[in-house]
Amino acid sequence: MEIDADNLSATELRLGLPGTSSSDDWQKKPSPSVGAKRALDDTRSEASGTSPATAGDLDHDTAAPPKAQVVGWPPVRAYRKNTFQAAAAAKKAEQQGGLYVKVSMDGAPYLRKVDLRMYKGYRELSDALDALFTKSISAAAAAAEGGEHQHAIAYEDKDGDLMLVGDVPWDMFISSCKKLRIMKGSEAR
């Protein structure tokens, strides 16, 4: 006869109040090899300066066996580990960090700054710039006496060259754009 462990738990004698379950307390220990366990204890005590914590502490967070760290294992040179970790960190920072660039507009009294990562494409950027500089744009339009009030958006790239916005794919643009410049229609020719 098979013993159904799950059902037996209902008949288990416990001292808790009805309604409380013991599943939180049940320490599901993973089965790391003995040597690894000893090394794990060493690692944790080294890291925290206290006596080794119970194996249960590691388990609470993950159902799968936790990605363990044993000091000096696998035997990979610190230089190699640091190189990989630095690259990964740099990548992460790039992905998460804002990419703020200055935006100048000819004739405007002061510059603005925009976060290029906030926009998914040129359309959104153009709309945002319009919104930022709306006063200056209308002032320029009035002054131009019904002439051109179209503006060209240009940017300064890594090499310092002034380029017209819109030629290259968006991702390539944001990785090379250092500064934005809104130029008057007449200058843009």
Partner: protein, 593 residues
């Protein structure tokens, strides 16, 4: 032969290539000792604490090339606490006083300061070659000193050092008159370098044969440099992840194609797969390729490149290549002698696409394979036995199964038979690192068959003292033994104490040796330094009980010692033969018994 004039004897000695041969002839008689020591040009010191620097420079005043190694090998894996030692200062200072003709200095795992480099640069007017491997403690200011004062500099080779970056100006310190560079490797420098200064330096170095750039150097700068170096033999690329500009890469390819002498390629930091085809024209002439810092290339990018490298002798790659990729290597690279497969995931029991199948494929396709470093997910005895039969020429065999104590993936058995086959078939094996589930049996095999083994690395292996003793008693040529997390204790430590005088060093960490055992060893063997390092809690207790002993290097301990703390386990033990006595630069967490 003692009737020949000394010049003749000296000339005969000049044909002896190895240090050990020269050491031997110096023992024959006083005349030979004198002739040998005055004519010695190259000195190799395998352990900087085995001998005092003053003694070396006084014995060999005319030395031109000095090599010194510092920290024990396990320092690479953070097992040696920082500030343990290995200082370059005393060596450079001693040489500056007594052998100003020094031309070459090579150091590995040592602590080198900017002041040391400054002294080096100013003290040796004919200085030509500086090689620093896995060193630390200096910054780019120290490099500036070398660049500005070493007028005859031929080689500046910085491999995997931890260098503090103080800006790009150091490269500009090479004076315009410096035209002698043959080899420049600054791949480990983290920061930017001035590309103009780099281009000008390369332009005035017609003898440049080896150039390894760091990540900051752009594709365009690389192309401009390569136009100036058609005789380049070894190249470490800079940044190959620039925004993809077809023009830049086209220029790079045409510059590379002119480098007909280029045999070895490395770098490829985070290289984009798009740039790989631009390297294809070079592949057929390459004998060395290091792609082990490129996690961005997957199996198909890697195999497309490697399948073109038909002359390849040395390949370093990440496990992204997978078993399938290794099969491609096996069918394309018939001349392969050295293979290193590194992990891309650094966690214990991390994921790896490489298993025993890849290794078996390599062994059957590449019979010349003699040097292996292989990180993998799993291994089997059957595979190892096959590998041993296919490649009896192994000199270095290092296998690391990512999960400690993992048994044979097919049978669940220990891997004793597999490694036993390796040591039995590979009669010339000099270096062995093992992993996986291993019992005392494998050590019995090693002691029995590995007659030429010089270095053995053991981790999470063995059952009892007998294992270590079989190795100590059987391996006649053993020089370095390093053990971690294995159940060897005092009986094994003390089982063959005379052996330690024939070895360079022994390292044991997280084993079962006790303080008492170490004290007995120290008392029986005055020619050894017995260094112990305990974790934070242990050492302060030891300070109280043994405060008066900290300065004493000879210690006689009665077997009836009552102090029960002597049975406390020693965390880290480092034993080495020395003529220098206890070192005086040890930090307070190191006890020298």
């Amino acid at each position: 032969m003692t009737y020949f004039p000394e010049e003749v004897v000296e000339h005969i000695f000049s044909f002896l290539p190895s240090h050990s041969d020269r050491n031997t002839v110096s023992l024959v008689c006083k005349v030979w000792y004198e002739v040998e020591r005055l004519s010695r040009r190259a000195v190799f010191v395998g352990n900087c604490y085995a001998v005092r620097p003053e003694r070396v420079v006084l014995r060999f005043p005319n030395v031109k090339a000095l090599t010194v190694k510092g920290k024990p090998h396990f320092a690479d894996f953070n097992l040696v606490p920082p500030d343990w030692g290995g200082y370059a200062g005393p060596w450079i200072e001693a040489a500056a006083r007594s052998c100003v003709g020094l031309e070459e200095l090579r150091m590995k795992r040592m602590v080198v300061s900017d002041e040391n480099l400054e002294l080096l640069a100013r003290s040796f007017p004919r200085f030509k070659v500086l090689v620093l491997i896995s060193c630390e403690g200096f910054s780019t200011d120290g490099l500036a000193a070398i660049a500005s004062h070493c007028k005859l500099l031929r080689e500046l080779d910085l491999q995997e050092n931890d260098v503090e970056d103080r800006g790009p100006r150091w490269l500009s310190f090479f004076p315009d008159s410096c035209t002698s560079l043959v080899s420049l490797n600054f791949a480990c420098i983290k920061g930017e370098v001035n590309s103009g200064a780099l281009e000008r330096l390369v332009a005035r170095s017609p003898n440049l044969r080896s150039l390894r750039l760091n990540r900051s150097v752009s594709v365009d700068t690389l192309s401009k440099i390569l136009v100036r170096t058609p005789n380049l033999e070894d190249l470490g690329t800079g940044n190959l992840t620039d925004e993809f500009q077809a023009e830049s890469y086209a220029r790079l390819t045409s510059a590379l194609e002119k480098c007909k002498m280029l045999r070895s390629l490395s770098g490829f930091w985070d290289a984009s797969p798009i740039c790989v085809p631009y390297i294809y024209p070079l592949c057929h002439q390459l004998t060395g390729l290091n792609l082990s810092y490129t996690p961005t290339l997957d199996y198909s990018d890697l195999t497309k490149m490697v399948s073109r490298c038909v002359k390849l002798q040395r390949l370093w790659v990440l496990d992204c290549i997978s078993d399938k990729g290794l099969q491609v290597v096996a069918s394309s690279c018939k001349d392969l002698q050295e293979l290193r497969v590194f992990p891309s995931d650094f966690y214990v029991a991390g994921a790896s696409a490489v298993t025993e199948e890849g290794l078996v494929a390599i062994s059957s396709g590449c019979p010349k394979l003699s040097s292996l470093l292989y990180f993998c997910h799993q291994m089997t005895n059957e595979a190892l036995i096959t590998v041993a039969k296919n490649c009896p020429n192994f000199i270095r065999f290092r296998l690391c199964i990512l999960e400690p104590k993992k048994p044979d993936a097919m049978t669940g058995q220990p891997l004793d038979e597999g490694f036993g086959a390796i040591v039995r078939e590979c009669k010339g094996l000099r270096r062995l690192s093992m992993s996986g589930l291993l019992t005392d049996k494998v050590f019995m095999y090693i002691g029995k068959y590995a007659k030429y083994l010089e270095m053995l690395s053991i981790a999470f292996a063995g059952d009892s003292d007998k294992g270590m003793m079989d190795v100590m008693n059987g391996c006649k040529n053993l020089r370095k033994l390093e053990i971690r997390d294995s159940p060897f204790g005092d009986v094994a430590l003390l089982g063959n104490v005379a052996k330690y005088e024939t070895m360079r060093s022994l390292w044991m960490s997280s084993c079962n040796v006790t303080l008492k055992g170490c004290q007995v060893l120290a008392s029986k063997m005055p020619m050894l330094n017995v260094e112990i390092m305990n974790e934070l809690d242990g050492s302060s207790e030891m300070e109280e009980n043994h405060a008066d002993l900290s300065k004493v290097d000879k210690l006689y301990v009665s077997e009836m010692e009552e102090n029960h703390t002597d049975l406390s386990k020693v965390d880290k033990l480092y034993v080495y033969r020395t003529t220098a006595g206890a070192r005086d630069d040890a930090p307070n967490f190191v006890k020298i018994l």
